[in-house]
């Protein structure tokens, strides 16, 4: 009798565990299939993060803490995109006698303005990186160059890009050139110092291995030092990307003709907070996209680096 009961219990237990195991199996299958949708989770979290921020802002508005004339919440400044887009119209900016309704449509205006600013950031960033890496490598390569150039670079490094603004206008007048110059000048000196720092921290063993194999100085630089500093330099580049975005607005706010900085100035002069926040939103999206592309490139170029972020997750 007792034996039978025990058997019965065991049977029930086994019966109960079988569906449980099946559920677990199903769940694990579901998760593995979702691993491929990792990016979807990322999009979800990004949306959640932004919604939370926007939601808090809306809450402040709903509670009457934020004056909508000064701090219009997203639903207000995003309400009439066509209306806002009109201010991005580049066709009429300096032409007397043309009305705001001529030229490209509102949507096209936003695209053109965004693209112009992005192009200035991109060109400035590329020029600054190439120049800075070249100068940084030369400083370490030639002692003479180091002694001759490094003091001046260190001296100019802390100068705020704002101080260069008049110089940019003196030298390049108006147009793309002064804006690009501003980006270059704002990044170049820091990036030279960062390059030198990266070179100094290259693992000595790697250099010594190359030396014992008979590598010459140029070969050591080309085959060991430059690949070894690449990860650090891409990191520096990413950090400076945001710097470039900040500087380009300052440059554009004075005498470039069109660009995000001009729109901000326009909004300021016409007391249009909605336009300010709309422009900030556009800049945010552009900067975010740029950073994302750079991260993609980083993963492609630096295939040998492990994912350090994941290592810290376990803490």
């Amino acid at each position: 009798m007792a034996v039978v009961t025990r058997d019965g219990e065991a049977g029930v237990a086994a019966g109960a565990s079988r569906p449980a195991a099946a559920t677990r199996l199903l769940a694990s299958r579901l998760f593995t299939s979702m691993a491929g949708l990792n990016w979807l989770a990322k999009v979800w979290w990004t949306c959640l993060s932004i919604s939370l921020f926007a939601g808090l802002w809306e809450l402040c508005w709903a509670m009457g803490w934020a004056d909508e004339k000064l701090l219009p919440p997203p639903h207000i400044f995003l309400d009439n995109i066509a209306e806002q887009g009109r201010f991005f119209n580049t066709a009429t900016r300096w032409q007397v006698g043309t009305s705001m309704t001529e030229g490209p449509s509102a949507f096209e205006s936003v695209l053109i303005t965004g693209a112009a600013t992005t192009m200035r950031v991109f060109v400035g960033l590329v020029l600054a990186s190439v120049l800075a890496i070249a100068v940084g490598v030369l400083v370490r390569y030639y002692r003479f160059f180091d002694r001759l150039v490094l003091p001046t670079i260190t001296l100019l490094s802390p100068v705020s890009p704002i101080a260069w603004l008049p110089v940019a206008i003196f030298l390049f007048g108006i147009g793309n050139a002064p804006a690009i110059f501003m980006v270059v000048v704002a990044l170049f000196f820091h990036m030279v110092l960062a390059t030198i720092n990266q070179i100094d921290t290259v693992n000595t063993n790697l250099i010594n291995v190359a030396r014992t194999m008979g590598a010459s100085k140029p070969q050591i630089y080309a085959r060991v030092i430059v690949p070894a500093i690449l990860p650090g330099m891409l990191q520096v580049l990413r950090m400076n990307l945001f710097g470039a975005w900040m500087v380009v607005l300052v440059a554009e706010s004075t005498g470039v003709g069109y660009g995000m900085g001009q729109v901000i100035m326009l909004a300021r002069n016409t007391f249009n907070p909605s336009l300010v926040f709309f422009t900030i939103a556009v800049i945010g999206v552009l900067g975010f996209t740029f950073d994302w592309l750079l991260r993609l490139a980083q993963r492609r170029i630096l295939y040998w680096l492990p994912d350090t972020a994941e290592r810290l997750r376990v803490l």
Binding site: G214, Q219, R223, Y303
Partner: protein, 275 residues
């Protein structure tokens, strides 16, 4: 070279040191003497272990022989030529992983050939041969971070062998490995050494390792490093490391080292205590 400093040794010797000394940061306040008066002759094909307490300058001597650093005093010759620059004839293998992380295993192994401008086919062929010798032919197209610590050191050995060195310099190459892997790596190294015919200079502070590997053990004093004694290990190979002779040698070497370790400790304590 003036006549009075003319070498009195066979120019066939793999490495010859005469009165070699090294002072780091010489002429400054932080100057400290790492090595003094090293006289040493190493025959071609000989396996010599440098044994000594940490910081005794044994690694420094290896760097001087490699030509990566200049001696402050004395002179080093290798096969009759004065050592003043690094040479592919004297390959150095480090304790820490020194593979280029951005290159695949075979590209790492053939790095020296790429430096000389060899063609891709030739490089791949030589790399395959070298990797065959260390038993890692299957890992040819992998990247260093996909390998275990022991495998990485074998790749480093393969890279050194691909240069066909006459002298293999090894700076505590197995120190970062676990005990089992280390024992396997010692057997592996002895095979490689026998096949290649190169002299091996091997730095360690493990007495077991010295007895397992060496023809001769150079025992160093603590700082500044001098040669305390040169101790021959005349056990037949392959060695039975559990034999009574091996045990006796380990005990003798331990005693030789003990004074030096004690001295090094006393010195470090004196250094740490404010005067």
């Amino acid at each position: 070279m003036s006549s009075e400093s003319a070498p009195t040794f066979s120019s066939r010797d793999a490495v010859v040191c005469r009165g070699v000394g090294k002072t780091w940061a010489a002429g400054t306040k932080r100057a400290h003497e790492a090595l003094r008066d090293i006289d040493l002759d190493i025959k071609p094909g000989e396996f010599v272990v440098f044994l000594g307490p940490s910081g005794c300058g044994k690694s420094t001597l290896l760097y001087l022989i490699a030509g990566l650093e200049d001696a402050t005093d004395g002179q080093i010759w290798s096969f009759g030529d004065a050592v003043d620059t690094p040479s592919p004839e004297r390959s150095l293998i480090f304790q820490e992983t020194s593979l280029f992380p951005w290159l695949t295993v075979w590209q790492n192994v053939s790095f020296g050939l790429a430096i000389r401008g060899a063609s891709q086919e030739e490089r791949r062929k030589v790399a395959a041969e070298a990797l065959q010798r260390v038993g890692l032919i299957a890992a040819m197209d992998k990247r260093p971070d996909e390998l275990s610590g022991g495998m990485r050191q074998r790749v480093a050995v393969a890279r050194a062998l691909a240069m066909r060195p006459k002298v293999l310099l090894m700076d505590e190459p197995f120190a970062a490995l676990d005990v089992q892997t280390r024992a396997r790596m010692q057997d592996f190294l002895l095979d490689v050494w026998r096949d290649s015919g190169a002299s091996v200079l091997f730095v360690t502070h493990h007495i077991d390792e010295a007895v397992a590997l060496a023809d001769r053990v150079v025992v160093f004093t603590s700082r500044p490093g001098r040669i305390k004694t040169i101790y021959p290990i005349d056990l037949p190979r392959p060695r039975n490391l559990f034999s009574r002779e091996a045990e006796a040698m380990r005990i003798q070497l331990t005693e030789l080292l003990r004074d030096e370790v004690d001295r090094a400790f006393a010195e470090q304590e004196a250094f740490a205590t404010p005067a």
